[in-house]
Each structure stands twice: as C-alpha cells, then as structure tokens.
C-alpha cells in the first residue's frame, strides 16, 4: 500500500491543486487584528480593521497607534477648493475651544481621498499652509485603504473625471479606543456640539 | 389759550383712544386667524410619553382627550407583501404595517413625535417616509432612508394641525407610491375636533398592472401605464371590494359620522361622493377650517386629503364613489356605508306609486287604438255596456278615475256630469276629436287638454253608452253606431 501511495503522491498533489486554489485562504489585508492588537479592543472600535497610512511628515502610521487619544477625523483632499478648507477650519476652531488640560490628549486627523495627487510633499506643504500644529496628522494611503476608512466612517465619495471628488462633509469623533462617538454631518458644523463631544470623550478616556 | 390747549388735549386723547382701539381690533383679528405658537404650552420638564397604538383602516385611533402635549413614540414597519388586489388577482404591495393604506396616525398639535421606521428584513428595497405634517427636509425622508433589516429614528414636532398624507419617498418615488406606500397622519388642533358618533378612514389610490383589469394571477407593476396615468384599478383601501358587502362601513340612523378621506394617487384626483348623502361639513383639502357646508362631491387631490361629516337621517346602503364614474363601476372605486335603523318617510318615502305613464303635452295627442274590437257591429245592450266598461277602464279611468269622479282642478268628473249629459253629439265629438279649452262642469271650471281617443265606432258607442248610464248619469237612450258615424262624418267635413 505504501509503495502505491508513494507512487501516487505527486499525482495526488497535482490533482488536489484545483481544490486548494478554489478555497480562498488567509489574506494580509482587511482582517481583524493580528497578535499585535490587544484583545481588549472593543468590538465597535474602528481600529479592528487595520491599515497603514503615511503622514505628512513621511512616517508610517497605523491608526491603532492613536489608541489612548481622542481623534477628530475628517476626509478631504488638498486640491479641493470648496468645503474642504472649511472642514479644516471647523476642526481648528474646535481645537482652540478645548479646555487647555485636554488639548494634549486630542489628535486632529485629515485623511486624503486623493493618493494620486496628494504626495507626502504636497501634504506637508498643505499642513504648513493651514498652520497645523503637532497635534495634527495629514495622511495618505492607497485607494483601497481610503475606501475602507470612508466606509467605516460612513463617508460617501466618488471621483470625477477631472480628478476631483464629491464627498460627505462629515467630521467624526473617535474615543480613546477608536469607537465612533459623534459625527457632525454638515458644514457649517454645530461647533458647540463637536466641542462637547470631544470634551466628553477626552474626559472618559483620561479615566 | 386754554380752549386751544384743551382742544389739543382732546384731539390727542381722541387720537390715543383711536390708536388703542385700532390696535386692539387688529390684534383681535390677528388672534382669530393666527395659530399662535404650537409649542408654547410645552412644559419645561419632561413630557409624558405614550406609544401610539396602530390600527388598520377603516378603523381610526380614538380621539385625543388630553389637553397637554406629550411625546408620542410611533413604530411603523415597512414590509413587502403579496396579497389580493381583486378576485383572482394578486399584487406584491409595498406597505406600511402590512396594509394598504398604512394606518392612520393620530397626534395632537404641539406633540413631540419620536418616529421609528423599521424595514422588515425580507424587503428587497430600502424605504423611507415623507410625512406631509413634518416641517423639515423631505418631510422626514432625508432622515429615514432605511435598508432592509434595519431601523431609522428621527424626531419632529407636530406643528400644524390638519389631516396629512404620508408616503415613501425612496427613488424611484413613483413606484414606491404606486405599490401602496401611503397613509394619513391626523394632527388634531389643540382644542380637538368637534365630537361625532363615528369616524372612518377611507383612502383612494390606483394600481397599474401589466394585465388588464380582472386578469388573474400575480400582476407586476407596469411603469408605462403609470407614466401615461392609465390605471387598471382605482380602489378604496387597497383592493377591489375592500369596503363592500360584509366589509361595508357600518353606522346607525341618527349618528353623526366623520370620514377622514385620503388620496395617495399616484396620479388621479378624486371626486369624492357618497350617493344619497350630503356632506354637512367639509374641511377642504384636510385643513383646519370646516370651510364648506352642504357639499355633494368634494375634490381630494393626489397626495392630499379631505375631512367630511354628515348626519345619517335614514337607513340604507349608501354607495361611496369617485364620481369620475367609470372608475367606480369599471375599475373598483366603489365602497359602501351600511346604515341601520328606523325609517323616516318624511325625509325619504321610498317608492310610493307605480302607474302607467301616458305622456301629455301642449297639443292634442292621439292614443293608439285597441285593435281587439275593430270589427264594426251593433252590440246588444248587455254586451255594449260590458264592452263600454272595459274601454272606459283602459282609456278613460286614468284621468277621469274609476268612479268617474275626475281630479279637482285637473280632470272634470263624468259622474252626474251636467256638461256630459247636456249634449250627446258633443260628447261623441269630444271622444273622437279631443277637447281643448275652458269648460264648466258641475259648477267648477276646468281648462285642460283631452286627447282624441282613437277608438272604433263600436267602442265609442260602447264607452259613451256606459258612461251616460253610470256614475249617477241617467241616460235613457244608448249611443248607436249611426250616432257615432254621423258625428265622425261631420267632423271630417269640418276639417
């Protein structure tokens, strides 16, 4: 029997190949956290779905690394001349309105829809132009990761033939665990409500 | 000086008084017509919370008795349901709460409404809701788009009182409405509606099916017919016969009945009418004013409503129709209000009389002859008088009455008639040629028209012999064939 099996083994492997191909196996992207992620992350945390972003300072950022800080997050692109600058201004105003003891715990993040045109250099220039301080991150990533973040946030967008984007004006507030706590859907935003939401999330994270 | 200043003072005083009067008068006018702020009586603390009980048409939730605002929670499910449109005909309806129309929602002006739209997981389509009572983007539609198996919530203040349509507004809107997604929301004014004995909910709409009216089986929606506004079905409450027979609306004589009438379209305007009744009051287009009275037929716009009420005075089955009448009889826009109770003959007697109708008019007409006795012969007395009685009953009694008494002011009597008995030839002539003009019979004046009666000579002789020897007339001689022929010839010679 064993000699038969030995002779048939190569044939068996060859024949099993289609079956192996037909069954999709583990992939790298879009899977819940690997061993690096702590098991205590809440089920509703956006950080459960991993992605790698590059900041305007050229650093690789995993959003999970923002754990512990409250994150005020919006999606925009540097070539946008309509509401994107207004979105940034709303976020700057919220930053200014925060109680001083909380400012060190809150991050402000802009994620770009437009990896094709928003290179690291472009993002850095943009951050300088808008006078964004050290609490700010302007991020880029490949299109698939941009889509995933937008879907997580409920942000709608589509690209136009000229390279511009139609998109939602949503500003989101994530708590220290990456759970979505509040969203402002429109511009002009309800600034007091945003400040209240960020303050509440920051105070509960501190505890 | 003093007089002048007094005059000035008086003038100023008068001016002030006048201004006050005008201001008061104006504000009085304003307060009569303006609604005021419907949220003014909201308490500073929390309001009582109630959950709306949902009932199916034609039933209506009971009138609101509280005099203060409340928070009302409404849970409305959207569900796609396959069921009967007409006998043998099925349709996949898209519904609120599984019924067409959706339930009538009832709140009070000033209430806070927490609305939950729940889309059943078996739905293929997302749904939302536009309530015409809502002041806000899309009437709520912008905030309630709900995927199958999910639920959306939004809150609104019921500001304006009135009767409003609600419907789904998901793209393609025409199809969502055409498939049955509509209903009514009643926002009662703060003082409530006037009390009635019974309230009903009647909702008209159309259905556009690929098959013709009555074609059996599951019928799909036909978009071309919808665009051309050519429905196969126009119905009340979602199906043919929904308010007919055992499903008729029921009420009692003496009751004041109110109908909340809606029209979901999607295309047609309704000419709403209840056969045999008149609407005592109509809130045209569902507004807060009972602005018209004594209305036979009221228009209900597509996506609109009307409130009608009527006092039921007599029993019977009153047919509810869209008076664009082919819709009622050929497409299904027909319902019934069955009213029980005692009759009232003064208001409606029912059929009183069923008699032969012989047309008369401004000129002398002829009555067609009885052909049975066309053979001319002299009859013996017994037969003559018997025949005369028959001819009298068939030709004369209608006007002169069976006992020859006539009708006062209309037809002269033949009974003991001085005019009749005075001249035999004249009597024969009247039967042959008719009579036009004033006559005095037994002291009374008559000015009518008697038609010439086309009888054979035998029958003329018979009927006159009979009349002249009956009803108190005491002729000793009979009328003979020759008498009749002589008068006939003389009449012919004259003309």
């Amino acid at each position: 029997m064993t000699s038969l099996v030995k002779r048939c083994l190569p044939l068996m492997t060859l024949l099993m190949l289609p079956a192996l191909i037909a069954a999709p196996t583990r992939s790298a992207a879009q899977t819940p956290p690997g061993p690096a992620a702590p098991a205590s992350l809440p089920a509703a945390s956006l950080y459960m779905l991993r992605a790698s972003w590059t900041s305007h300072q050229g650093r690789t950022i995993d959003l999970l690394s923002l754990r512990g800080e409250v994150v005020v997050l919006a999606m925009a692109y540097t070539s946008c001349t309509m509401t994107c600058p207004l979105i940034t201004r709303e976020m700057l105003a919220v930053q200014k309105a925060l109680p001083p003891d909380l400012r060190a715990n809150v991050r402000f993040v802009l994620a770009s829809f437009d990896p094709a045109r928003d290179s690291v250099a472009v993002l850095r220039a943009h951050a300088d132009k808008m006078a964004l301080d050290a609490r700010w991150l302007v991020l880029r990533a490949p299109a698939a990761d941009v889509r995933q973040l937008a879907v997580l946030l409920g942000v709608r967008y589509r690209q136009l033939p000229n390279g511009d984007f139609d998109h939602s004006n949503i500003i989101s507030v994530l708590d220290g665990d990456g759970v979505l706590r509040f969203q402002s859907p429109q511009i002009p935003a309800d600034r007091p409500a945003l400040v209240r939401a960020v303050t509440a999330a920051a105070r509960s994270s501190k505890r | 000086m003093v007089r002048n200043s007094l005059a000035v003072h008086t003038r100023r005083w008068l001016l002030a008084a006048l201004s006050i009067a005008i201001a008061t008068g104006t504000s009085a006018c304003t307060s009569e017509t303006s609604a005021g702020d419907p949220l003014a009586d909201r308490p500073s603390g929390a309001m009582p919370v109630e959950t709306l009980t949902v009932v199916s048409a034609p039933a209506v939730p009971p009138a609101i008795t509280r005099k203060t605002p409340a928070k009302v929670i409404i849970n409305l499910e959207t569900r796609e349901v396959r069921k009967r449109l007409a006998d043998g005909v099925e349709y996949t309806f898209w519904t609120f709460a599984g019924t067409v129309p959706g339930p009538l929602l009832r709140v009070r002006s000033g209430d806070e409404v927490e609305f939950h739209l729940n889309n059943h997981p078996s739905s293929k389509m997302p749904h939302n809701i536009d309530l015409h009572a809502v002041t806000g983007p899309g009437g709520g539609a912008a905030s309630s788009l709900t995927a199958p198996g999910h639920s959306s919530q939004f809150t609104f203040a019921a500001l304006n009182p009135g009767l409003y349509v609600y419907h789904c507004a998901t793209a393609p809107v025409g199809m969502h409405i055409a498939n049955g997604m509509y209903g009514l929301i009643l926002v009662e004014p703060k003082e409530g509606l006037s009390p009635v004995d019974r309230e009903f909910y009647v909702f008209q709409s159309e259905f556009y099916t690929t098959g013709r009216h009555g074609e059996t089986g599951l019928q799909p929606f036909d978009m071309q017919k919808a665009i051309h506004e050519d429905p196969e079905y126009v119905v009340f409450n979602g199906s043919v016969g929904a308010l007919v027979g055992d499903n008729a609306l029921k009420a009692k004589v003496g009751e004041n009945v109110r109908m909340f009438v809606g029209n979901g379209g999607p295309n047609l305007v309704s000419s709403f009418h209840v056969i045999g009744e008149i609407f005592d009051n109509v809130h045209t287009e569902g507004g807060t004013l009972a602005n018209q009275h004594n209305v036979q037929t009221t228009l209900v716009p597509a996506g609109g409503s009307a409130i009608v009420d009527m006092k039921l005075d007599v029993p019977g089955t009153f047919i509810i129709v869209d008076h664009s009448i082919f819709r009622a009889f050929n497409k299904g826009a027909l319902g019934m209000l069955a009213v029980e109770g005692a009759e009232n003959k003064t208001i409606y007697s029912g059929k009183q009389n069923d008699v032969v109708y012989l047309p008369e008019g401004g000129g002398i007409q002829s009555i067609a002859p009885d052909t049975a006795m066309s053979v001319e012969r002299e009859l013996p007395r017994g037969q003559l008088l018997a025949r005369g009685a028959q001819v009298f009953a068939a030709n004369c009694a209608a006007c002169h009455q069976l006992a020859g008494q006539g009708i006062a002011g209309a037809f002269p009597p033949l009974a003991a008639s001085d005019y009749l008995m005075a001249n035999k030839e004249r009597a024969i002539g009247i039967v042959l040629n008719g009579l036009n003009g004033a006559v005095t019979v037994n002291g009374a004046s008559y000015n009518g028209v008697m038609p010439a009666v086309q009888l054979s000579n035998t029958d003329v002789a018979a009927v006159l012999s009979y009349v002249r020897t009956s009803f108190g007339n005491k002729a000793t001689d009979l009328v003979t064939l020759d008498d009749v022929k002589k008068v006939r010839a003389a009449s012919a010679a004259k003309h």
Binding site: V5, R26, P32, S45, L49 | Y91, M125, P137, L145
Partner: protein
C-alpha cells in the same frame, strides 16, 4: 504486490477519483470561473460631472456566478476570524450569516449552491481579496449587467423583467446559482437572484431625500455641480442606486450577495493566492 493491501489502495484511489470528480464537476457546472467583460462606457444614473458619454470602463474579468454558501464556507473555515461568532461587530452587523445553522454549518436554509447572503461589504471584500481579486466597481457591474441583447429585445424589456423580479416576494431559501438569465458575455444571475455588493457602493452622494436629488445638498456634500438623472424611466437602475445609498459597510441583508472581479493583468500572471 501484497494481496491484503490492494483493497485499501483501491479505496484510496476511489476517494481520490471522487475528489477529482467533484472539483471538475464544480468547475463544469459554472463553466469558466470568470468571463471577459470588454471595455465600454457606463452612463451613471446620476450623471454629475461626467461627460455625456459616461464613465470609461476597462476590460476586466467578472465571476460567472455569485459566491455561493459553499464557497463562503470554505473561506470561513480557512479564515476563522470571519466566523459568525468571532467577527468584529464593526466589520459585520448582527445579521451576519444569520441564515446559517452555525459558525461552520450551513443547515437547511443555506443550500450549498445558493448565493451567499447576509454578508457585509467588509466580509465580501475580504473574500474577494483572498480569492485573488476584488469587488467590481459600480461602473463595471452596471456595464456587465446592461449587456443582454441576445436575451432581451431592448433595455426596456430588461428593465421590465427586473421590475417583475422586484415585485416578487423574497424566497425564504434562495435557489441555486446558475439557473437564471445569462448575459451576452456569459455571466449568469446578474438580475433576478440577489442584489450584489460593489466596491464603491458609497459613491452614492445623495441624502435619501430623493426628490431633491437634482443636486447634492451643499451642506452635507462637497460636490462639483448638479446631479441630473440620466434616465428617469430606468427604474431598475434607480432601485439599485437607492439600495446602495441606504447601505453601510457593516450591513448584512438577506437579499444582498456578491461576486468577484479581477483585473486582466492579475489573471494572466497566474498568481497563487496566499
């Protein structure tokens, strides 16, 4: 050869042949796994900012049939973080795989050959990636779904057929894939079976107040211009548009499945998926 070992050898060979046959059978039932969809233009239902002739779509490969319960079971077995009891709630809501009997048991309401439903966008995307592909874009899917000249006289007839399907009740248990209409390109079940996820389902830049959709709400959206409906009588497209606009990535619907697309380049390199 020792006589006592021959029966066992024969058994082994039989099992092997059986396995081979089932794999071959599966492939034959579906024909080729992917079909060529030639390049074309797709006119979106809301033609904002696109040229009159629409969006250009490059040649790509589209799966012949939607992913089945059996396909998805193999994926879950190999990727246990996508099991019903384990999946992160942010990636799939509580309706995820609710028609299955268990984490790795299909049960009577999930026939192996029926299209898998109750899967979220994240789950569908993960499956597609594991299979060496991706979800099709809206433009790709709609382009492929418009090619039915061999079956239907014109677009109106196709639209009427789609409307009729929408008018029917959702079956408790989905029928098998491969029994429905086939497009000119040989793709089956694009209409009449289940709705299908697309990669950019969230490209629907509208508010849900569809009567105002002649232009995106300027407060809610940063948008280039008016969004005019290209074909107001194309109800079937409107329905898909409305459905996509109501979805979030974590939603699992009993009428929503998916199929895999691939770029032409990826296929020709014959990469073995990791």
């Amino acid at each position: 050869m020792p006589r006592t070992n021959t029966p066992r050898a024969i058994l082994l060979l039989a099992a092997l042949l059986g396995a081979m046959a089932s794999v071959v059978r599966a492939q034959r039932a579906t024909g080729a796994l992917y079909q060529h969809i030639a390049a074309g233009r797709y006119r979106p239902i809301f033609a904002a900012g696109v040229s009159d002739s629409g969006v250009a779509v490059r040649t790509f490969l589209l799966a012949t049939l939607p992913v089945t319960n059996a396909d998805y079971l193999r994926f879950v077995t190999a990727n246990p973080e996508w099991k019903r009891s384990k999946v992160a709630r942010v990636a799939a809501d509580s309706s995820y795989l609710r028609h299955w009997s268990g984490d790795e048991t299909l049960g009577p309401t999930a026939p192996p050959t029926a299209p898998v439903v109750n899967v979220s966008w994240f789950a569908a995307s993960a499956y597609a990636r594991a299979a060496g592909g991706r979800l099709p874009s809206t433009a790709e899917w709609e382009l492929a779904a418009s090619r039915f000249r061999r079956t239907f006289a014109n677009a109106d007839v196709l639209s009427a057929r789609v409307l009729a399907w929408n008018g029917g009740a959702t079956p408790r248990t989905q029928p098998a894939v491969g029994l429905g209409i086939v497009s000119d390109d040989g793709v089956g079940d694009l209409h009449g079976l289940v709705w299908e996820w697309v990669d950019d389902f969230n490209a629907v830049v509208t508010s849900g107040e569809s009567r105002g959709d002649s232009g995106p709400d300027a407060g809610l959206f940063c948008a280039g211009g008016a969004a005019l409906s290209a074909d107001p009588s194309n109800y079937a497209s409107f329905m898909r548009y409305a459905l996509r606009g109501s979805l979030r990535g974590s939603y699992s619907l009993s009428t929503l499945g998916f199929r895999v697309a691939r770029d032409i380049d990826a296929a020709t390199t014959k990469r073995r998926p990791r």
